[in-house]
């Protein structure tokens, strides 16, 4: 059986069930890299130039950790998920960057996802499937199953109020506490315990119920993004502005914490939009910035102070 490596980083938390269904249907075996560790992070940081972001460095670390464990590594280039909505250049060039910084990595399985070029999207998916079968109908079936799994995954998290770590990794989060906080940001920051210094458990340890973007329906997030920013410009804007805006507007939580990677261009704009909105609506809000230099002590102080403030303000 052909072994396909999946780095447990970046878009993994967003699309893993989709990828699993696709490769399963084509008879491939998936090898997912282990959770991020110090070694994984260090090996990625050592390879990539400083100008990229921490999540990309973590991704490269995961690719390195898969060397020798699989025949291929799946690295999609997600260019655009809807018309006139763009993705960060690091996602566009991810396969090329991977090859450039890790020349010794196994051959990459690539796919270009660009909803603005539907016709090319089909041929790109067929080209990916051709590594496993010459039968286009089989690829088509795999793609259908993949989309279906993705829909079920997303719907389940909204319906059951679950996080990706709960669904994908069998964790279970605390459901009772004396206050509640919405944690918004990209899943690769929220659910990688190494990157965020166990942020969710840290909050739960202080008696806080944590709500995340995945628990908000697509329609609600879209609407909030529209109200705050006049619609998305960036792919994955909904999980920041949409979810943050929704939680602030609804007032179902006592405060909102957003998480961004240091040096992230798109996020730096989104965080400002959220900050202004929270201020206007008079809701407690703070933004945490993470990178490989983030010290646990500084993060702990900010989180503790924010929770104190939220409780006093209520």
């Amino acid at each position: 059986m052909v072994k396909v490596g999946i780095p447990r980083a970046l878009l993994y938390y967003e699309y893993y069930p989709m990828w699993r269904a696709f490769f399963d249907a084509l008879g491939a075996e998936l090898v997912v890299s282990e959770s991020t560790t110090k070694d994984v992070a260090a090996s990625g940081v050592a390879r990539v130039t400083a100008e990229t972001c921490f999540p990309v460095k973590i991704f490269m670390g995961h690719v390195i950790s898969l060397i020798g464990k699989c025949d291929f590594i799946f690295v999609p280039a997600v260019r655009s998920m809807e018309e006139k909505v763009h993705n960060c250049s690091k996602f566009l060039g991810l396969p090329d960057m991977t090859r450039a910084v890790i020349p010794e990595c196994p051959p990459l399985l690539e796919v270009d996802i660009d909803m603005e070029k539907k016709r090319e999207l089909y041929s790109s998916v067929y080209a990916l499937g051709r590594h496993f079968t010459w039968n286009p109908l089989k690829v088509r079936r795999a793609a259908k199953l993949a989309l279906q799994s993705h829909g079920e995954y997303k719907a389940r998290m909204v319906r059951e109020g679950k996080t990706p770590s709960e669904v994908l990794e069998g964790k279970s989060e605390q459901r009772d506490g004396s206050s509640s906080v919405a944690l918004v940001g990209h899943p690769y920051l929220l659910y990688d315990d190494y990157v965020n210094h166990r942020l969710i458990s840290r909050l739960e340890g202080q008696g806080v119920i944590v709500l995340t973007p995945e628990m908000v329906s697509q329609a609600d997030m879209k609407q909030a993004t529209h109200e705050l920013a006049g619609g998305s410009y960036w792919t994955y804007e909904d999980e920041v502005i949409g979810a943050g805006g929704y939680y602030i507007k609804k007032g179902v939580v006592d405060g909102v914490i957003s998480v961004m990677a240091f040096g992230c261009g798109p996020d730096s704009v989104m965080m400002h939009i959220l900050d202004r909105y929270a201020r206007r609506e008079r809701r407690p809000y703070t933004c945490l910035t993470l990178d490989e230099h983030t010290a646990e002590a500084g993060l702990a102080t900010r989180v503790e102070a924010f929770i104190d403030m939220v409780r006093k303000r209520r």
């Binding site: 809000y285 102080t301 503790e304 006093k312 303000r313």
Partner: protein, 318 residues
């Protein structure tokens, strides 16, 4: 009268206050931490002990970046983050305070309060430019004592603009300005303005700085910075009497609150801690590929607490 202790162990200085239940600072100690938090806590506590002459302690609180370490050492009733502690102390001296500017050794904070409640706060993000350490280093390079820095800055009439975004760039800019022949006082005040600019544009970004503004933390000793803030904001700042130990005062107030809810029983180990033999050590955990560096503090061979793990494997101490 009951007496409460507040201990604030920061990155650069260690502060201890003895606070009476009516909010009077009976005694305070301000020392450089010099990377030896355990010894400095012991040293400052023994000074306080001498000055108090046998007055019993009704409660202890700790804060600052070494708050957990200090808390375990002395047996604290409350361990609180710096932001909350600073805000509580400030509210005691200036009950209608709306903005707190706090600049310490390695971090700077802004706390926005409305009607006596903190509604927003900010801290410097990823770098220490715009903090006390920045001035400390520049003073070192100019071969002057940090204590004289403020007085010299006040003599300036034509401050020089210095790029203060980063300590490294500030140095090259400063050397350049020195070589062009600018007078020392103008360079020194230029540095003060650079710090304030940095603070207002980063930490204070997007925040509404309303009067009354309280300026506290060790850097408030520096008259040059005070002048630069007042010129930059166009508002007078209030510098409370014990501005450098506000965090310690705040946590002493919190200790009072905590013990009064717990039937007036304190967990304080007593002043004997000043003579106790604490040992700190560290080791690398081999439990998983993370190889966390675990630090531990022990007393007479018995481990009191451990830190530094990414999981809770070492957190339980029996």
């Amino acid at each position: 009268m009951k007496v409460y202790l507040g201990i604030d162990v920061g990155s650069v200085t260690t502060k201890v206050v003895a606070l009476s239940s009516d909010g009077q600072v009976l005694s305070s100690v301000y020392l450089r931490t010099e990377g030896k938090p355990v010894q400095m806590v012991q040293q400052s506590l023994s000074e306080i002990r001498q000055r108090l002459q046998g007055v019993p302690i009704a409660g202890v609180g700790t804060t600052g970046s070494a708050r957990y370490l200090a808390g375990v050492m002395v047996g604290a009733d409350v361990v609180k983050n710096e932001i909350t502690a600073q805000a509580i102390a400030s509210l005691h001296y200036v009950p209608d305070v709306k903005t707190i500017i706090e600049i310490g050794g390695q971090d700077s904070k802004i706390i926005i309060l409305r009607d006596g409640i903190a509604v927003d706060f900010g801290m410097n993000t990823v770098c220490a430019a715009g903090t006390g350490s920045f001035l400390d280093h520049q003073a070192d390079r100019l071969n002057m004592r940090i204590e004289d820095f403020g007085e010299i800055a006040l003599e300036s009439n034509n401050p020089v603009r210095i790029a203060g975004r980063c300590t490294v760039f500030a140095e090259s800019d400063m050397v350049h300005k020195q070589q062009l022949g600018y007078p020392l006082e103008d360079i020194v005040y230029g540095l003060c303005q650079a710090l304030v600019r940095n603070y207002l544009n980063n930490v204070g970004l997007g925040k509404e700085l309303l009067s009354p503004i309280v300026f506290q933390g060790g850097v408030a000793f520096n008259k040059g910075i005070v002048r630069a803030f007042e010129e930059g904001l166009g508002i007078k700042t209030i510098i409370p009497p014990h501005h450098e130990v506000m965090g310690a005062i705040g946590t002493a107030f919190l200790a009072e609150e905590e013990t009064s809810q717990n039937g007036n029983v304190t967990k304080f180990r007593g002043f004997e801690v000043t003579e106790a033999k604490y040992a700190t050590s560290s080791f690398e955990c081999k439990g998983c590929p993370n190889q966390c560096e675990i630090a531990q503090i022990s007393l007479d061979g018995k481990v009191l607490a451990r830190w530094g793990g990414r999981c809770d494997r070492w957190e339980r101490v029996d």
